[in-house]
Structures are given as C-alpha cells and as structure tokens.
Symmetry: C2
Subunit: 366 residues, 2 copies
C-alpha cells in the first residue's frame, strides 16, 4: 500500500485531527459573502483596506508600524536585509532548520548576499549559551517560535528575555520568526505584546494558526517599516490589490486569535493518546503549542497500510503522508478547529484500536 | 479648485471614459459566485487550479511553459536574471521609461546586481538603429509593447522582426514586456503567437487590459520556466494559495481577450474627439492600442476646474488626475468595457461642450 492510498483515505475521511478544514475556495467565499462589493480595493499598498488592517496589527503586536506582505519568505528576507544594511554587516544567525535555510531556495543568500551562521544542533532550540558562544559579529539574530521543524519546541521565556537583553547590550538586532507566535502564548502565559517587546522586528503568518488564504505581517518601528515598503516593491510584492488576502486574514484573525489556548490543550490531549501506543512517540512528548510531530519506530512501508486501515474504518484522518526518518517515520500535526468537532468517544475508540494494532505489529516482530 | 475635486467629480460620475469599471471587491465576488466552494486551493505552485491555467496560457502564447506570478515586477526581474546567469553577462538593455527603470525602486539592480543600458530617447520607441548602435555586450534586450509611458506607442512589426533576427544572430535574448501585449494585436494584425515567436520570454499582465485582480504570466521554454520557479520561491512569490488571482484572471481573460479590437477602435474615436479641442492633443495622435495620453497646453491649475465642471455637469468622468508636464499637463486613458456603455450622443455633447470651453479659455488669453 502506497502513500497515495494514505492520502486517499485521509482526504475521504469525514473528520481530520489537524487543521481548520480543507483549503478550498469556500475559505474565500465564506469571507466575501458578507463584504459589500462596493468596498474599494487597496491600491499598491494604499487605501483603507490595507492601512486599516496594518494599523490594527501594529497595535495588536505593540509595534509602531506594520506592513502586509504576500508571504513570510518575502517579509523575513527584507527584515534581515534592512538590519544588515543598517549595521553594515552582511551576516545573520538562526537555527539550522530555519525556514530561510531549508525552504526558500537560499533567497537570502542569492538575492541579498547575506551570510548565515547556524546556531544550536538540529534537534534542539537555540539557548542563551549558543548566542554567547558566537565569536563572529552579526547584524541580526532570528528566533523562530516555536521551532517548527522539531515539532514546535520552545525555549523558556526566561531564555528569551536573557537572549534579548544580551542582543540589546551587544547591538545585535533580534528578529522574531513568529509565523506561529500566537500559538505559543498559552504556554508562555504572556501577552503578545510582552513577547514582541523582546524583539526589534516581528513576522506573523496569516494562514497558519489563523487559517487565512495567504499573507504575512511584518512589524517594527516607523523607519524600519518605511524601508520595508521600498524592499517590498523591489521584491515584486507591492501588488495593486492584496485585498483577497487582507480581508480573509482580518476575518480569520478575529475568529481564531483567542482560540489558541483551546488548540494547545487539544494538542496536549491528542499527543497523550499517541504516546500510549507501542512504537509511537511524539516530539515534544508534551506539546508546548498546538503542534507536535508523531514518530513511529517502524518504517513508512510498515505503518502506512496500518494507518490507512484506521482512517478508512474509523472515518478519521490522522495524516496524509509519512516522512522517512533515520529510524522509522514521522508526520506533523497542527491542531485547529477540526479536532473538537470529532465526537470524543470516536477519538478514544480510534486510539484504542490504533494501540491494539501497534501492539500486534510489535508482537509479530518478537 | 484642487486635484482632490477633480478626483471627487470623477468618482461620483455615472460614467467613466476609461477602464472596465471600479476596482472594488465586486470584481472578486462576481468571479467566485459561480465557482464551487469545494474546488481545492493550489498549493505552493501545484494543483489543477494553477497548473491548468499555466498550461492554457502557454498554449495561448505559443510557448513551451508558463508560470503564474503575483506580479509583473517579480516575473520580469526573474526573467532578466535567468538570461544574465545563462549568458554570464550581468547587463541588459531597455527603454529609459521602462517599468523596471522608473517604477520598481531599482529592484533589478538592488536584488540582482544587473546593470542596465537605456536605449532610445525618452520620447520615442526603440528602433533597430538603437539596437545596432549598442557597443557593449548585453545578455538580454527588453522591449515593452506598447511603450506605456509615452502613450502606448509601438514600433512597426517589421522593426520587431528585424530586432528579433539581429538578437538571435548576436546571441542576445529578447524579452517581451507584454503587460499590455493583447492590446497591440489589432494594430499589428498579427496573432499573439506570431508576436511571441519573436521573443525568448514573454510577460503578460492579468489586470491591465484583462482586468483581473492582480498577477502575471511569464512564458518561455521548459528549462527557463523551471528556473523561474526557483527564483519565484526566492522572491517570496511562491504563495501557498494564488487562486484568488488565478481564478479571476482566468474568468476575465476569457471575457476580454477577444475584445481588444473594440477597445482599440474606441480609443481611436475618443482620441479624435480630444484632438478637435483647441489646446488639447493626444499622444499618439492616432492611438495604436487601447491607450493614449491627453496633453493640455495649459497648466493643471487652469485645466482642473474646467474638467471638474465638465465631469460634474455631464456626469462623465474624463480623468481623476492631471500630471504637470514641462509645458502644460496630461493624463492617461486606457479604454475598456466602460466607454461603450456611455450613450454615444452623450459623449458627443460632452466633447462639444469641452471644445467650447477650451475655445473660450484660449480666446481669453488672446
């Protein structure tokens, strides 16, 4: 049984564990049904639709100014470029599994000629000691909260405070890759402003936890944001109309910004269900956000048919893919609106059955 | 009376000479009303919504492959970068009023380190002699058809053929800034494929003559387009969902691609009305596309109140702005769906009145 069958049984399931629902055109239609057709488009970064939302987000994040970008890739490269130009140092530091390092075709290097220093080991988050041990001068340190590629792990808030204080002392700019920063607040038990206060510039995704169609917010002080608009035009991101993304971001932000605690608690519960199964463990063991990774000791070839059967029989989608790891395989889960729509009894039965199948699988090998 | 009043009287007019209609949210709502909400989003450049439209556009333009970009700014910088890398020469040539030279905050230079040679004088299009006279080696020549900043002027088709033949002979890549290329076909009396055949790469806007929300198509051979996808990711243009732009582009492309001859003929008629007025002339005198510039001998301060009065009394919007020129002032007109919705008698009366007012203005000065 192939991964294609896993995807098939996932997508035809009545329920899915992860996410807010299918990424289809209804996401857009639902938003625009209630918006008056006479509302004027934004126009190359101007007009009430874009300016109003930018002001709202600047206020929310506790920054002087905010700009809406088509993507986080664009917003973050630009943030780092501005800090490098300002400091006269074309070097930044971030985690080895940063989005910029592994998902952007080296745009930061190819377009901006910025060198990177990789801090910490792949398997853990950046700690204060990593920052202190840097012997090269950098313009900016980027922290990704949570560290997505290792299951959404977080440093302690005290560590963040210490890193921030050190960077300010050393004149190093601190940038927050906060694609999923709202998802961290319930664990930190901090307000968004308390977190953003530690950083000179902040990026927030409009389609991850918030579930919009696409787009990103970059926030910082007035001068920084004014420069970011020039770079946005240079990147080809100053579109004549961004309202399809802005208005959907605004709608889903209002709907979901206060739901992060529920997603987080559900992630903790769900991870515990997985961890009760032989041969399955989650990273982190106890999630600190709405996300975690599910690891299997067995290979994707062994696990895929088993999960497909569960998905088909229980009508609950667990995952559409399995990624081969050094040992075994894994997949990622981000909890959104969908999880709590599944009757709890059904979730429990599903995991009882999965646990039994994993036990049998394990016993067969003995 | 200020330009604010000119804008006010323009926007409250029942009719407008230019464009397809207001750029408001209805442009999106009209498209999505008839699209099934279950249709799946594109996903980082993959999926039927984006792949289907790209195939359709490649076939339409007569190229091997096409890629949908969020903007022409992004698409064209990337096209020039790829040709420069391939040729090992970081230099391109284009018109002094090219979009890349005056509207993109020098993205081509700042992001890609590409030098530019400006061909021809500002007031006229690039001719074969300009190309022949270049003594520096370039990777790529960009031709903008029509040349927007000088009223949408065009070289002859024979000139295009000669420039194309020369570039092929010399190993110079030829790129078409065809933001408004469909608008040129009625004058050239050529098919889109006959025009595109002369070029190695082609860009077409989805929101100018076509009237979509935003977006651009870049087309060329397979290898070139495969590279363009890598650069699209680097630029931050490989969004998780581009369907709001793609589906609207598809709809309006189908609606308007065959209407360019009507827009062109209406532009020719409308320019003749302006040219009958004392102190007003159009560039070009006889349009060769759906666009032209309207020039006044008098200053914006003199002309604005006069046009505002005409707009208010006749309920027809002529322009929302006037741009100061070395002598007098000007505005741009691009004809779309709106012009032919105005009763012809009303247009004629409006211009008779405008002609009389311009005559009086002129006589007062004698």
């Amino acid at each position: 049984m192939s991964n294609a069958e896993l995807m098939e049984t996932y997508e035809t399931s009545l329920h899915q564990l992860a996410g807010h629902g299918p990424r289809n055109v209804a996401v857009l239609k639902d938003v625009f049904e209630s918006i008056d057709g006479h509302l004027k488009s934004d126009n190359y970064g101007s007009g009430p639709v874009i300016e109003g939302f930018q002001e709202q987000m600047a206020e929310f994040l506790g920054k002087q100014s905010a700009v809406f970008f088509p993507s986080g890739t664009m917003a973050q490269q630009i943030a780092l470029r501005i800090w490098c130009d300002q400091q006269g140092i074309k070097k930044v530091a971030y985690h080895p599994l940063s989005h910029l390092e592994i998902h952007e075709e080296d745009g930061l290097k190819e377009l901006h000629g910025i060198e990177t220093i990789l801090l910490a080991d792949k398997g853990r988050v950046i700690e204060l000691a990593d920052v202190l041990s840097m012997d090269e001068k950098i313009a900016c340190l980027l922290l990704e909260l949570p560290q997505r590629e290792i299951g959404g792990q977080l440093p302690s808030f005290e560590t963040l405070e210490a890193i921030s204080a050190y960077c300010r002392e050393q004149g190093i700019k601190l940038h927050l890759d906060g694609a999923r920063i709202l998802e961290c607040l319930p664990y930190y038990q901090k307000t968004i402003k308390e977190v953003c206060d530690l950083f000179d510039s902040v990026y927030l995704s409009m389609y991850k936890g918030i579930g919009g169609i696409a787009g990103a917010i970059l926030a910082g002080d007035q001068d920084f944001m004014a420069l970011s608009k020039i770079w946005k035009k240079r990147h080809g991101g100053d579109l004549i109309s961004l309202y399809p993304y802005i208005l959907s971001a605004e709608t889903y932000f209002a709907q979901r910004k206060d739901r992060m605690a529920a997603y987080y608690e559900n992630a903790v519960e769900l991870a515990s269900f997985f961890n009760r199964c032989t041969g399955i463990s989650t990273i982190p063991t106890v999630p600190v956000t709405n996300m975690f990774h599910v690891h299997f000791q067995d290979t994707a070839e062994q696990i895929a048919p088993l999960l497909s059967q569960v998905q088909q029989m229980m009508n609950i989608g667990l995952t559409r893919y399995l990624r081969a790891e050094n040992t075994g395989c894994s997949f990622e889960l981000s909890i959104g609106d969908q999880y709590e729509k599944i009757p709890k009894g059904k979730v429990i039965v599903t995991f009882e059955w999965l646990a039994e199948k994993m036990r049998n699988e394990f016993n067969q090998k003995l």
